[in-house]
Subunit: 324 residues, 2 copies
């Protein structure tokens, strides 16, 4: 799919931010020989040391401008709130014809915040691998994280197609499937598939956390009944998710408004004992579940287990059952 | 833990309703030799035939009164809405000193609907195994379903303690851990751990199902970002869940009200860009997740894999990661 170490896609890849995603990308690029050199950048000395110890990068820097200098690919892997300062600092050191990308979960805000700092001679291609775990930090990363996952790229109109293809090849090289998408469309779709679910999971766990002690202990004890799934989602990194909600505000508020209307309708049906309304609604959702299974997105609970999303063979639904 | 076939706990166990739970209970009772005879009852001829073919019961009946007659344990395993009619029909055939129980997810409503039909010479002990999958029907059952799961019993005050112990022994015999609880308390705890999560999962999937076609297809395609977990929960049996919400109305409406207040607060924080409010809330929930992991309820995604809930050893958190 990609060249080996003798003919890598990039000479020098710079990863700014070496958390879960950055360290996974570094490991994957090195494993597949996709770059001659991987350079890491992190503010904290312990993170830089961990990145070296774990073999995530070949060299590390504290200063983003130093790290970016001479790189033909720079990828921002910090929480979104760090982007504007980093973009300003690296702006002057970005190499001619190099690619600047990122892995953030929101894309319009990245174009808004980073775009103004990108020199004309640099290809700016925001990206978002739909992959991750609820763990954080360089130790949490692993080279297989992106295998059979989607990597969405949102190049602004007019972006050089060769640069887009080169970055796509990198993502395919680490095992991902690439999709090119408009940034606004990305933000709307992800608001529904990811941001709203996380907001709701955080909320329900927070609601439970506010119960009085006795009930809270029993909620923990009997959490197998559905609640447990929500606690897992709600264990994700607080800063990363704060930034996502602040930076995809309009799309999140819109789907949240729709969700509120829908749950209010169900609330009313419960209050007035309207069984048919409830049953109809519950049947309706089963169909979408079927679509999800058919799209081969359901079925795997091991992030390293391929979901066979590109094959035509149906996969068995092996997911963990909810319990009543 | 329990006697073998030579000295079973019960002579004749009658399961009214042979869906996921009923058929699992039948298989488990037979595997562990906990009853001399297992009798099934189902309205539909295909279900009765399937139960015989699958070896879930020794004999089957269409008439609940015939099935219950002569049994020393009768367990209602139908959706909750079927209980009043069944209770009325079996009332006259319940054997002296027999036990009448059920597996419904709500307990106060069962006492309200079934209690009046229970003769004085019968021990009425409502029960609820916190186990299940999103599948339905006799084929979906399996003997290991209850292993290392909680089975909650809610005997009304004054219930014969020997009868409670005998029913507890049955649940322990199929691998469950037994907890005795007040019915009202059960309904409040389960409203939080199970009913509210299911209502929310149904709602968010329903919200997505109502998107226009193009966006809906992309939601399905990129569902790995958190949404997928919700579709699984929302695939559960519509009639069973309709009945749960109708029968645990007050407790569900109360936790739903709390949830609404909490999500409104987060919505406001997003609208006004209050990052600290979001981050604080998200950190807060991480602590409860830690409690869930420590309570050994988290970590297993195979329903047949023991969660080691009774051991002191910490279990690793092997759950599927959410993705951003």
């Amino acid at each position: 799919m990609t060249g080996g170490h003798s003919n890598p896609l990039f000479e020098r890849v710079c990863l700014i931010g070496i958390g879960l995603i950055g360290s996974s990308l570094g490991r994957a690029i090195k494993r597949h020989g996709l770059a001659r050199k991987v350079v890491g950048c992190a503010r904290r000395a312990e993170t830089r040391q961990a990145a070296l110890d774990l073999g995530v990068c070949d060299t590390v820097h504290a200063d983003p401008a130093e790290a970016a200098a001479g790189s033909d690919l720079v990828v921002l892997c910090t929480p979104l709130s760090g982007y504007p300062e980093i973009a300003e600092r690296i702006s002057g050191s970005l190499r001619r014809e190099s690619i600047l990308s990122d892995v953030g979960s929101v894309k319009q805000a990245v174009i808004r915040d980073v775009g103004p700092f990108v020199p004309d001679h640099v290809h700016f291609i925001p990206g978002h691998p739909i992959a991750g775990t609820e763990k954080s930090g360089p130790e949490a990363g692993f080279a297989e994280l992106f295998e059979d996952r989607w990597a969405i790229l949102t190049p602004p109109p007019g972006t050089d197609s060769h640069a887009v293809e080169r970055l796509s090849a990198l993502w395919r090289g680490v095992g991902a499937m690439v999709e090119i998408m408009d940034a606004r469309h990305h933000d709307r779709v992800l608001a529904m598939t990811s941001h709203l679910p996380h907001l709701i999971a955080y909320t329900i766990v927070s609601t439970a956390a506010d119960l009085e002690t006795g009930e809270r202990q029993e909620v923990v004890k009997f959490s197998a009944g559905g609640f447990r799934d929500f606690t897992r989602i709600a264990a994700s990194d607080p800063v990363m998710w704060r930034d996502i909600f602040l930076n995809n505000r309009d799309a999140v508020l819109e789907v949240l408004q729709r969700f509120n209307e829908d749950i209010t309708a169900l609330q009313r049906a419960i209050r007035w004992g309207e069984g048919e309304v409830l049953e109809d609604r519950f049947r309706h959702t089963r169909e979408l579940r079927r679509g999800v299974i058919e799209a081969h997105q359901a079925g795997s609970f091991d992030p390293r287990e391929p979901e066979k999303a590109q094959t035509a063979a149906p996969v068995q639904d092996k997911t963990d059952p909810p319990e009543s």
